[in-house]
Every structure is written in C-alpha cells, then in structure tokens.
C-alpha cells in the first residue's frame, strides 16, 4: 500500500480569498486534453464521412486519410483519462458496472462502439488492398515483408473475394458505416459536453448548450487538424517530387491539394460560425439573467481570464482565422497559419471551460489559480503536467505513422474504391 501523502491538486492550485477547504483544481490539463482529443477524433471522422456519405468527390483523398487518422487518434482519446484517474488499474469498471445515470459511464460503451465502427469502415475500405497485398507479398523475402504478410492474412478475416459484386458490397458497407458513424461521433463528443453541462454545482458549466458547443468545436478542430496534416504531407510529397525532377507531377499534387483544401475550408468555416454563435449566446444569456453566480463569473471572465477568453480564444483562435480563410488570394502559408490558430482556439475553448470553471470557488467569494506543473518531479506532476499533455499530443502522430505502414492512406492506390 502506497503510504505517500499527496493531496491531489495542491501542487498546482493557488487559492485566493475564501475557498472551501476541500476545493482544488481537480480536473486539470488532462481533462482539457481529453475533450480536445475526442473532438479531433469526431471531427476527422465527420470529414471522412462527408465524402463517403454525401459523395463530395473532391474530398476523396483527404477522406481516406482522415479516416485512418481518426483511428490513430482514437486510443489517444482514452490516454488522458488513464493518466488522470487516481486508480487507473480500475479503468475497465465503466464497462463492467456502468452507472448509466452518469455521463462518464457512457464513455465505455460509446468509445467501444465508435472504435468498432471506425475499424469496420477501414476494413471495408481497405479489404481489397489487403487481399492484393497478400498476393504481392506471397513470395517476398525479408522479416518485415513476412511480418506484413501475416498481418494482412489476419486482417482479411478470410474474405478474399475480389469480384466486382464483393467490392460493391464493400463500398456500400463503408458508406453505411460512415453514415451511422456520424451520429455516433456526435454522441462521442456530445456526451463529453454533457459531462460538463449537466454539473449543476458548477456555475460556468451548467448549460444545455454545452453538448452542442462541444460538438461544433470538435468538428472544427477535427477538420482543421486533418487539413493541416494533409497540407504538410502533400507539400512534402510535392517537394520530394520537385527535387527528383518531376516538376509537373509536383504541380499536379499541389493543384489537387488546393482544390481539396478550398472545399474543406468551407465546411470548417460553417462549423466555426456555429460554435462561436452558441458560445456568445451562452455568455450573453448569463450576463442578461445575472444569476447569483454572475458576479464571480464576470470577475473571472472579464478580469483574470480576459486574455484567455477574449484575446486568445475568440480573437486569435476564431476571428483571425475566419478572416484569413475568407480573404481572397489564399496562399498555403496563410491557410496553415489559419488552421494552426483554429486548433489553438479550440484548445483554448477546452481550457477556458475546464480550468475556467474551476477558477472560482463554490463559495462565489474566492478564486483558484492554476499553475500547470512544467518540470515533473513526481509521477503526479508528470501525468497532470505539461509533459503529460505533450505526450498525449504527440502520440497520435506516432500511432498514425505505425498504422499507415499497414493501411496506407496518403497515396492513391490504383483500383481502390
């Protein structure tokens, strides 16, 4: 039994004026990361579905990529929770004894369902590729090629039929799964908003708008991340092609990229407008109705957190990218800047909700200041500190690199649906 005495939260919480003795910032950086990562998952999936379900042909390439990337993001969505739990070895309990009156209990079921849908859809999209790879690698030598052969053999689940009808069925199944996946992705993120919005004890969180705000900003972040990663990868490809002397091919790549980005940007802006409108509506309502908590909320939002909310989130994270994407003569550099700002803005939104909601005491007469642990000196200050957050942020890219070796999503493979 670990007899170490650690009061969770005391390391990074500074109390000001009258705060109840047991109040600390219990939900810190990992709880900011969690809705951020699930938002990226949901957004990436919705982007992919825009092609599969609604037949937006220009999105075909980025759709395949964002589907696979959404798979790379999925385990990372669960990682912040594992790092946050005081008893991570009991993490399976929401699947074993789910108490359905709790929004968090939905996590186990929704997450598993969504994972199954994404995996199934990828399977249907790539089954043809797997079967082809088996015949390509059948006589190949070398450890890595043999390993891949084994993996592909397993991944096909014995379904080797490549007839036209079989492929048509694959295509249809992928489309249906993409369609079902949209509401599930919305639920995956809507429930995260419900987790906060249903806490009546927290004056900032309590709002029926919370689930919708979370979904909208999740889709925004997912689309932005996919667009950004896609641009980076395509630019790299074009750069390599130019260096190897194929300037015309490089030009083709850049042209296609531009088309896709323009289309995706339209959706991004739509969801961005929706997200901002709802957040402003929430703010205006609170100020207008001026409930008991309004005094302390106002002093937090217009005082201590003014820069976080109005400068970082609303201006830098929403208004500036909005203008950047709408101005004519959009360049790749400007788009990249806009996308990075959007991602930053959505992160600040999560920060301002989670940390902002704990910036004031239940007494409405005191404040709590969050000082994120930077240099970890214990397991707890790592898990709930800057490096824990960076670990979570970096992992999807590592996973994507690994998954992409088996499920390539960046080059158009001839004969694929």
């Amino acid at each position: 039994m670990n007899e170490e005495i650690i009061v969770h939260g005391v390391e990074w919480t500074v109390k000001e004026l009258f705060v109840y003795p047991n109040e600390y910032i219990y939900w810190s950086i990992q709880i900011v990361m969690y809705p951020y990562m699930t938002g990226l998952v949901a957004g990436a999936f919705v982007l992919s579905s825009l092609y599969h379900v609604f037949g937006q042909e220009q999105l075909k390439d980025i759709a395949r990529f964002s589907l696979v990337f959404s798979l790379a993001l999925l385990p990372v969505a669960a990682l912040p929770l594992l790092l946050h739990l005081q008893q991570p070895t009991r993490a399976m309990e929401p699947l074993l004894t789910p108490h359905f009156t709790s929004a968090i209990s939905a996590f186990g079921i929704v997450f598993t369902t969504y994972a199954l849908i994404v995996l199934s859809e990828i399977w249907f999209v790539y089954r043809e590729y797997f079967v082809n790879q088996i015949s390509v690698l059948k006589n190949a030598r070398g450890f890595w090629n043999r390993a891949r052969l084994v993996v592909y053999r397993i991944l096909t689940f014995g379904a080797h039929d490549l007839s036209e009808e079989a492929l048509r069925v694959d295509h249809k199944a992928a489309k249906i799964l993409a369609g079902i996946g949209i509401p599930v992705a919305c639920f995956l993120h809507g429930y995260a908003g419900f987790i906060f919005g249903s806490v009546k004890a927290n004056a900032l969180w309590m709002s029926p708008l919370m689930p919708v705000i979370f979904i909208m900003s999740a889709v925004v972040s997912g689309i932005a991340l996919c667009m950004l990663t896609y641009i980076v990868i395509m630019e790299l490809q074009a750069f390599r092609l130019r260096r190897s002397g194929s300037a015309s091919q490089a030009g083709e790549v850049k042209g296609a990229e531009s088309e896709i980005i323009t289309q995706a940007a339209r959706y991004l802006l739509g969801f961005l407008v929706a997200a901002i409108s709802l957040e402003l509506l929430d703010l205006i309502f609170r100020g207008y109705t001026a409930m008991k908590s309004w005094d302390i909320l106002r002093s937090v939002m217009y005082g201590k957190d003014f820069v976080n909310i109005f400068v970082l989130q609303y201006t830098l994270g929403n208004l500036v990218p909005f203008i950047l994407l709408l101005l004519p003569g959009r360049t790749v550099r400007r788009t990249v800047l806009a996308l990075v700002l959007v991602l930053f803005g959505v992160f600040m939104m999560r920060w301002n909700v989670v940390i902002g909601g704990q910036a004031f005491s239940l007494s409405f007469s005191g404040y709590m200041h969050y000082h994120i642990p930077v240099i970890p000196h214990s397991l707890e200050t790592f898990k709930e500190g800057l490096f824990g957050a960076l670990t979570v942020a970096a992992t999807p890219f590592v996973l994507f690199w690994l998954i992409n070796k088996f499920v390539p999503s960046l080059r158009r493979v001839p004969g694929e649906t």
Binding site: W27, T97, K172
Partner: protein, 256 residues
C-alpha cells in the same frame, strides 16, 4: 436491395448486442436480500448545527481527522468550520484556515486586520456532508462506487472507486476530496461506523457547546428530530434540489 438489408440487419444485431451490455447492468437482487437491506429504514440520519453555539474552537475538525484517519497535516478534511465577519461597510469576510482544525485564534482574515469596532456581526458555521436525499454526487458516479444506504448515509466504496473525481465536481457543497493516501474519493459519512453502534459521530461528541447534534428523522421521540420538525431551521443551497439533511439554526444570509 438485399445488400443494404443485410447491412441493416448486421447493425441492428450488433447494436442489440452492445445494448445487452448495459441491460445486464440492471441486476436486481432477491426479495429476501432486499428486505434485509431495507430493514434499517426505521432510521434516517440527519444532523442539526446550531451556529449560535459554535465558538470556532475546532475540536470537531481535529476529532474527525483522528477518528477517520484523514492525515492530520493534509489540507483536506471531512468536516470544517467557517468564520464569517460582517463589517459595517457591508463586506463579508470569510475564512477557514486548515478547515478550522486549529481553531480561530487570530482576528486577521486573508491578511486583513479587522478592528472589533468595525464588526456588525461575526459567527462560525460548521459544515459537513449533507447526506442529501437526492445526492448529485451519487448520480454522477460512473461505476457505482458511491451510494446511499437504506438509512440515508452516502458512502464510498474504496475498493471500487476509480478516482475520476466526477463526484467531487458534482457536489455543490464542496464536501468531497481525494483521500491523500487511499487515492479514492472521500467525505464525511456521519461516522457511520460509530452511529451504527449507538455512538455519536466524533465531531458531535467532541463539541463542548452542543453546536453539533445527530438525529434520526424516523424516531418521533428523538429530541433533535423534534427541534428540526418544530423549530425554524434552514439548509444550505437548497436551490440545487439535492434535499440536504443537515439543518442549521441561526443560518445567516451571508453564509456561502
């Protein structure tokens, strides 16, 4: 098209199986066990705090820490005492140093020295878990690690709590915290191990002024119950709909 029908069937069956998982969570026990569990409903624990009697000595907080093995120097506590000083300029100054564990021996509040002649009123308010009828903390526990006993006390299963902290966020009264050693949620449970043996909670016993008293609302002869039912009492933050069972005499409007 037969393809899409098959696909639909696949999804319905798959969805049904996934739904079977939550359905299996609704385990109902046999009627004999239910009867035995509900046998204690002749008791409904409640608490009465008389703020007109509290002197802020803090012995209750010390006793609670010792009785319930909450590390003495850790800045968390199952019960605490708040001090309120309302000054003539209309300001309310409130504090609770270490939860009132060492009492209140200085006039200074948050670095501000308050002169006696500036004070309109000043008082102490002990607080503890309200063992609500509709506990928000129980509602939000994702795994069933916290619950309401048949006699009304809200307990925490230390073996099952995953330490997510949702219950701590959901409590409007701020009574919950993470136990610094056990690494699970913790809170006042009316000294359940004592009251079920006919003893008083540690805080009630240690209070020399009679500011804290425990009651059984189902016992009409309980003198404390009589006070709750026949005299003017108040509860904290009733706007949250939690239906708390800690009643206060002399609860001032400035109490947060």
């Amino acid at each position: 098209m037969s393809c899409s029908r098959r696909q639909f069937l696949k999804d319905v069956v798959g969805g049904g199986l996934v739904a079977a998982l939550p359905a299996s969570a609704f385990v109902f026990i046999s009627s004999d066990e239910a009867k035995a569990a509900l046998a204690e409903t002749k008791v409904r624990w409640a608490f009465l705090v008389d703020t007109t009697k509290c002197t802020g000595c803090g012995f209750c907080v010390t006793a609670c820490k010792n009785e319930n093995e909450i590390p003495f120097d850790a800045p968390v506590t199952r019960t605490w005492v708040e001090r309120y000083v309302v000054t003539k300029d209309g300001q309310t100054h409130a504090d609770s140093p270490m939860g009132g564990r060492d009492g209140f021996t200085q006039r200074e509040i948050h670095g501000q020295e308050i002169e006696p002649e500036d004070i309109d009123k000043a008082y102490f308010v002990p607080k503890l878990c309200n063992q609500c009828d509709n506990p928000a903390c129980v509602q939000v526990c994702p795994v069933g690690a916290t619950y309401q006993t048949p006699d009304g006390v809200v307990l925490i299963d230390r073996e099952w709590c995953i330490g997510c902290g949702y219950c701590i966020m959901a409590c409007p009264y701020g009574v919950r915290f993470f136990h610094p050693v056990k690494k699970v949620a913790d809170k006042c449970n009316f000294c359940y191990h004592r009251i079920t043996k006919g003893l008083q909670p540690a805080c009630v016993q240690s209070c020399a002024f009679g500011a804290r008293r425990i009651a059984n609302l189902r016992d009409p002869d309980d003198p404390v119950t009589k006070i709750i039912t026949t005299e003017r009492v108040a509860v904290l933050k009733d706007e949250y709909g939690t239906k708390p069972n800690v009643f206060y005499i002399g609860l001032d409007e400035n109490v947060r």
